[in-house]
Structures are given as C-alpha cells and as structure tokens.
C-alpha cells in the first residue's frame, strides 16, 4: 500500500516544487512578446516585417512572436489579459472601452482612415450624394466599415434610410462585378486594387476625405502599461523604425514582406499595388502621434449614432507617451 502511494505522492510533490524550479529569465535575455494582427499574413503588415527583419525588435531586447486573427477576437484577448499587444482600429478601441475592456491605443500607425466606398465607373457613383437610393454592400453591420460608412453619412447629411444597406461579408469584388450591389464598403488598399487589376474601371469615395476617425494602430492593455511600461516603449520604438523605413524605401519593404509571406510571390503585381496604396494612408507628418480632437469627435459621433453602451473617457484609452520623439 505504501509503495502504491509513493509514486502519486512524489508526483504531487514534484508538481508543487516545479514552479519554484522554473527557469527565471536571465538578465539580458530578450523579453518575449506577442503581437496579434487583425487579418491574415499580408503585405499590409510590412512595417512589422521590416522591423523584425532589420532586428529593431531584437535591438530593443524583444523577442517578437506574430499572431493573426479577427480584430474583434484579438481585442477581446487583449482586454482579458491573454494577449499583450495587438494591431487594431481606433474605433474598435472606443467600442471595447464602452463595454469595459481596458484596452489602450498607444501608437497611431495609419494617418488616414482606410475605409472607402468603391463602385464601378458605369454606376455613375462619384460622390456621397450619388449613393442615395443605391444598394450598398457592406461586410457586416458593425466594425470599422460600418462605423466609417455611418460617419460618412453623418458628415455629408445622407440619411441611412435613403440607401439600401446589404451585409455581404467579404465578397465585395464578386458582388460588384456581378451587379449584386451598386457600391461596396471596403478597405482602400484591398478590393479597389483587386478590381483595378482585374481591368475594372472604378470610382472611390474615401471616408477620410470627409471625416477624420481614429484608425489602425498598436494596442495594449492598462495592465501591461502598468506592469511593463518599458516594454511598451521599446515595442513602439522598434515598430516606429520599421514604419519609417517602409515609408522611405517601399521597394525594400516589399522584398522583406515577401520573405515573411511567401504567398505574395503568387500575385506580386497586386500585392505591390496593395502596399503602395497602404503607404499613401500611412504617410504622416507626425508618425505615431494620435490627435485627441479626432478621438473626441469620433466618441461624440459614436454616442450620437447610439453605438456606445456607456460614456467613455478618451484620456484612458489613447496616449502618445510611448511614441518616440522626433
């Protein structure tokens, strides 16, 4: 009997002792961090790939692991403390904060909100008022696309009831070319580029031309900022360098992105066009800096639109303190 008990007891003892025997991080060893991006591996994440390739994260003492997923999922993971960093949209941060998720926007990557409304040229849609009475396809009745469209409507005085909104998932190109919708809400650097390369003549209404909204950037949580502010600082600094390099040398960035996403080579022309379109949205006089006025306006608009469950405080959700000084 004693022998029978000995083995389980030893196992329990080993389990109890194990945590204290776990290897402690040695001084100078890189800090492991995970950055999740709200999409699939894509050329649009070139600044991250550039910073990794050039060792900017390593130079900051960070061992970066990349992860990909749906934006809403990764923001939830961030809020629950299961993830430390993510790339996400500012409008989603506002929504998440309104539901109590302690996420914080620490680095403004995109200078312009990337949502646009694309239509085939023959539809005659050239400006927002042309959308009245038309069938507009949208990925879903939530998310950055929906918020962008609602903001555009508000800024241009178009009542939502004057258009026929249709949730079409991510089938914008097929829906437009098959005449299922007259216009589609999409990302400026994705579907419009695909349509143009397919030989379609298109027109675009970029939401950012009519209204400023907080856009994609680096997110973390209040807990991470409190516990490891220096890690946030280092991550932002490394990314910043990657972004500046990408903006300065897109050819080099494209070649690096190909190493990280080999699938790019399957359709190089299209992917290059995607990067070029994205670079237009990233260029900024003050890279990384968030404009509190834009956030304030976005919060006010979202509250008016009935999108917020409760009031949100801008100061707690966005900060420029980790953005490298120029």
């Amino acid at each position: 009997m004693r022998r029978k008990l000995a083995l389980p007891l030893l196992l329990v003892l080993a389990l109890l002792i194990a945590p204290s025997c776990a290897p402690t991080p040695t001084p100078g060893a890189p800090t492991k961090v995970k950055l999740a991006m709200g999409y699939i591996p894509n050329v649009q994440f070139a600044p991250v790939y550039v910073a990794l390739h050039k060792g900017y994260f390593a130079a900051e003492g960070l061992e970066l692991e990349l992860d990909y997923g749906m934006e809403a999922d990764i923001i939830s993971l961030l809020g629950t403390g299961k993830l430390e960093f993510a790339i996400g949209s500012g409008d989603q941060v506002i929504l998440a904060r309104a539901q109590g998720l302690p996420v914080v926007y620490v680095y403004n990557w995109y200078n312009r909100f990337p949502v646009s409304i694309v239509a085939l040229e023959k539809s005659g849609i050239r400006e927002p008022k042309d959308l009245i009475g038309k069938r507009i396809g949208i990925p879903a009745l939530h998310g950055a696309s929906y918020i962008g469209l609602r903001a555009l409507f508000e800024a241009t005085g178009i009542p939502e009831s004057s258009v026929q909104l249709q949730a079409i998932g991510y089938t914008q190109v097929a829906a437009l070319t098959n005449g299922l919708v007259d216009a589609a809400v999409c990302y400026y650097m994705n579907e419009p580029v695909q349509l143009q390369l397919a030989g379609e003549r298109i027109t675009q209404i970029l939401v950012a031309d009519y209204v400023s909204l907080p856009t994609n950037g680096i997110l973390t949580s209040e807990e991470v900022i409190k516990a490891k502010p220096e890690v946030v600082q280092r991550l932002c600094r490394a990314f910043h360098k990657g972004l500046l390099d990408t903006l300065a040398r897109p050819d080099e960035a494209f070649a690096i992105a190909k190493e990280f996403v080999p699938e790019i080579a399957q359709n190089e022309a299209a992917q290059r066009a995607v990067l070029d379109a994205a670079v237009q949205l990233w260029s900024s006089e003050h890279p990384g800096q968030s404009d509190p006025t834009v956030w304030q306006q976005a919060v006010e608009f979202m509250a008016r639109a009935g999108l917020l469950a409760q009031k949100v405080d801008i100061e707690s959700m966005v900060t420029n303190r980790f953005v490298p000084q120029e």
């Binding site: 809403a72 999922d73 923001i75 939830s76 809020g79 629950t80 929504l95 998440a96 309104a98 539901q99 109590g100 998720l101 396809g137 990925p139 879903a140 009745l141 939530h142 998310g143 909104l165 249709q166 949730a167 079409i168 998932g169 991510y170 089938t171 097929a174 829906a175 098959n178 299922l180 999108l307 469950a309």
Partner: protein
C-alpha cells in the same frame, strides 16, 4: 397510458428541466463570483436575462428568430426531401451507389463554412443562400440514413412481395418505407440540429438579420450579453426541433414495441 399519469409525467419532466436550469444559473453565478470575471468575459445570468427581456420587448428577438427559423425549416425541407429521394434512387441500383458515393463523401470533405461565401455569391445575399447552406449540411446524414434504412429491408419479405407480384409503388409504400423509417427518422434527428448550424454558417458570411447575425453583432461590438442571448435562443431552437423530430418519430413508429 392514462391521461392523468401522462400529465403527471409531463409536469415532472418540466420541473426537472427547471431544476437543471436553476442549477446551471447557480453554477454560472458561482463561477462569476469566484473568478471575478468582468461582464465582457462572462456576463451574469441576470444581465443576460435582462438583455433578453429588453430585446424581446423591443420586438428585436422575434424578428431575428423568425428569420433563422424560416432558413432552418426551408433548408431542412429542401435538404431532407432531396436526400430521401436521392437515397431511394441510389439504393435501387447498385451501380448508382458505386458511382455516387465517392462524390457525396468528397463533398463532405469540403467544409461548408469554406464554400459558404461562394454559395452566397451564387444564390444572392437573401434567404435562398442560407437555405442552400442549410440544405447542404442536412443532405449527407439524411442520404446515408435513407440508404442504410432501405438496405435493412429483410430480403425474405422483399421476395415475398415479389412473389405476390407487388408493384414497385406497393413495394415502396408497404415494405421499404416502413422498414427504413426508423433509420431515416434517426437521420432526421441528427439533421435538425445540423440545420441550425447551417443557418448560422450562412448568416455568418453575410446577413443583416437572424440569430447568427446577432451573435456576430454581439462579438463585433464586444457585447457578450447579446451573444449569450442569441446563443441561448439557438439552443432553445435546436432543442425544440429535436423534440419535434422525436415526437414525429414516436407518432410514425407507434407500432414499434
């Protein structure tokens, strides 16, 4: 069974369900208190109930429930009826099964969720595409159960019917269908729950109404309570459909011991 005894049993069944539900709510609340989970991770049962009542009062829930119900029932009708007909035709000729089976099995290897966006483009963004997704998911279990059921017909009875010079129609109605019915209805029980999954997959691709849309909306706006309300309704729908299939089985197979 006497009506009084039957009613008593129904009341006992109802009470046991209520008790199970109350225990679930208690365990849920206990997990919430012990784990100190915020509402965006795990909303309190009362919060979910409050949300559900609010949405029901506004008429929102009924609108979405009706849409998803229509998708499920139409998809189930289309998928199950075509599978039963196909299963009968295939079982009548041995070469038919040999030729068709690899294609049917191969079609099951393709996840419906992966081809759902294509189905939506082919059949439009309205009800039809969701019905087709639903029918596709239902088709395979119904086809297999029909084929298996028809194969289970006792050969000596078939021979007897042939000796009695029964027509093909008589063979089907008097022998094959009654003999295959237990297996076909077993397939139906499986299919009704799969039909719910099919409707949700269709709605996930692109929809502006339905319970799948509500789940997506809750996820997209970080409103976990809304997700729970929609998921709870889906569970209730699946249970209701399963119960209906079971009742149909009992009615049609009343002759079984």
């Amino acid at each position: 069974m006497l009506p009084v005894r039957k009613a008593r049993r129904a009341v006992q069944q109802l009470l046991s369900w209520c008790l199970a539900l109350a225990l679930l709510a208690l365990a849920w609340q206990a997990a919430l208190v012990l784990g100190r989970y915020p509402a965006y991770i795990l909303p309190a049962p009362l919060e979910v109930l409050r949300k559900g009542v609010l949405l029901a009062r506004q008429g929102v829930l009924l609108r979405h429930v009706l849409v998803t119900s229509a998708e499920i029932l139409a998809g189930l009708a289309l998928g199950a009826s075509s599978a039963v007909v196909a299963g009968y035709l295939v079982s009548q000729c041995s070469w038919g099964e040999r030729i068709l089976t690899p294609f049917v099995v191969a079609s099951q290897a393709v996840p419906t969720v992966a081809i759902a966006p294509l189905i939506v483009i082919w059949f439009g963004f309205g009800l039809l595409s969701k019905v087709v997704v639903c029918a596709l998911i239902v088709f395979f279990p119904m086809l297999v159960s029909t084929m298996v059921g028809l194969r289970a017909v006792p050969p000596e009875l078939a021979e007897l019917m042939q000796v009695l010079r029964a027509t093909r129609w008589q063979m089907l109605l008097k022998l094959q269908l009654p003999a295959a019915l237990p297996v076909i209805l077993g397939g139906l029980r499986l299919s009704v729950t799969l039909a719910v999954v099919g409707a949700i997959v269709g709605e996930f691709v692109g929809a502006d109404r339905g319970l799948g849309f509500l789940v997506n909306l809750g996820k997209g706006t970080f409103d976990t309570a809304l997700m729970f309300v929609a998921l709870a309704l889906l569970v209730v729908m699946a249970l209701g459909l399963y119960g209906a299939a079971l009742a149909l089985e009992r009615k049609l197979l009343h002759w079984r011991p």
